[in-house]
Assembly symmetry: C2
Homo-oligomer: 226 residues x 2
């Protein structure tokens, strides 16, 4: 029984890689750089994204919002007049706890790729499975909130290892927490040595300029790498 | 392809129900009441559990700690001289984002059931899949932190619907957040009308007495229901 289960999982991952590559080809042909944005529920992905989209240095961005249910985040992004597509894993995808390449593929046709330089895919809030499924992205970012504790990199190492950038958010709350920032940073470095880490507060705006610049520079970095 | 996937998922859920019932029979025979404790990563499950275990009104408790990797939480519980077993989903279970009945079954033999009145199963931090897998428990509790935002019941309704008790934790941070507690409570009530909600701060101790009493009363409630 257990063997069978592992076999099915391996097949699913291979199919995912095939479809992720097809997505990547479509994005490349359209000249769109793609970022996969991940975090635990409530770490502040959408708010950070709102802050960045307010002024992205002329970069034309679109957003794909992944949620189990609802369109609250998509509504927030649409209010900024940014092209956005909501992808619910509930309807037709069995309430999955992550986006996979096939789900993203099903939404590509609804995105105005020709008019975009950058597509941000906001994944379902979860620190486990989203890290296991490539969706055709060029870069992966994770947001972790200081309210989640210093131990998360050691408990969810694959997620921290999968990302080019770790954004440590809600730093305005540091004075009110028993939280050792140095220990978090040491734990991030232990599982993903040398990875870029950024400190932000989407609420006060601290660090948001650096975050915005990093995101705005993604299309240029991708073009230079091709 | 999609049909096949759905079929496999349905089979897996049925197998889970069968094994969950077997677990439940074992727990009942041993006279152990079982609680499944769930939340997003970093909502404060372990700290709340530590606070409760310090003085559980004579109730003999044991803990099963579910994590993808590591034994940090189990070490914290063991320091309180409470029987604890660490269950890692990484080794042998493919890094699953939740506990299932079979994983719990694999750990039952390591628990001193005859010496316990209450077993708390601390699930993997995740608001999606843990709600889909019964493990043989009598009651389900979810912890949500006020730092996660008011929208979580609408985004993850199955989790909020699955629980007898919703513990709203970290309320000491309310003065430092743009957070509307009334809106969260209305959202909880919208997806799970009439469910019991408790406000706590594991850090300051506010509400912890009520939480401790609720947990200590579980074995009596389960015995009365049989």
């Amino acid at each position: 029984m257990h063997r069978t289960k592992v076999k099915v999982a391996a097949d699913a991952l291979d199919a995912n890689a095939t479809i992720a590559n097809a997505n990547r080809d479509d994005f490349d042909r359209a000249g769109v750089a793609v970022v996969n944005l991940m975090s635990a529920p409530g770490a502040g992905k959408t708010t950070l994204l709102e802050r960045a989209l307010e002024d992205l240095d002329g970069v034309r961005a679109g957003v794909l919002e992944g949620d189990v249910q609802g369109s609250m985040d998509a509504d927030r992004i649409a209010a900024l007049h940014v092209p956005v597509v909501q992808l619910n894993t509930e309807s037709g995808f069995g309430g999955e706890c992550h986006l996979d390449a096939n789900m993203v593929r099903s939404a590509i046709g609804d995105l105005p790729l020709a008019e975009l330089d950058l597509l941000v895919i906001e994944n379902v809030g979860n620190l486990v499975c989203p890290a296991e499924f490539r969706v055709g992205e060029d870069a992966r970012i994770m947001v972790c909130s200081v309210t989640e504790g210093e131990d998360k990199p050691l408990k969810y190492p694959l997620m921290f290892r999968a990302c080019e950038l770790v954004v440590v958010n809600k730093i305005d709350l540091l004075p009110h927490l028993d939280f050792d920032l140095e220990r978090l940073l040491a734990n991030v470095d232990a599982v993903n040595p040398g990875t870029r880490v950024m400190l932000t507060s989407a609420r006060t705006g601290e660090g948001v300029g650096e975050w915005r610049e990093w995101l705005a520079a993604v299309p240029g970095r991708v073009a230079a790498a091709v």
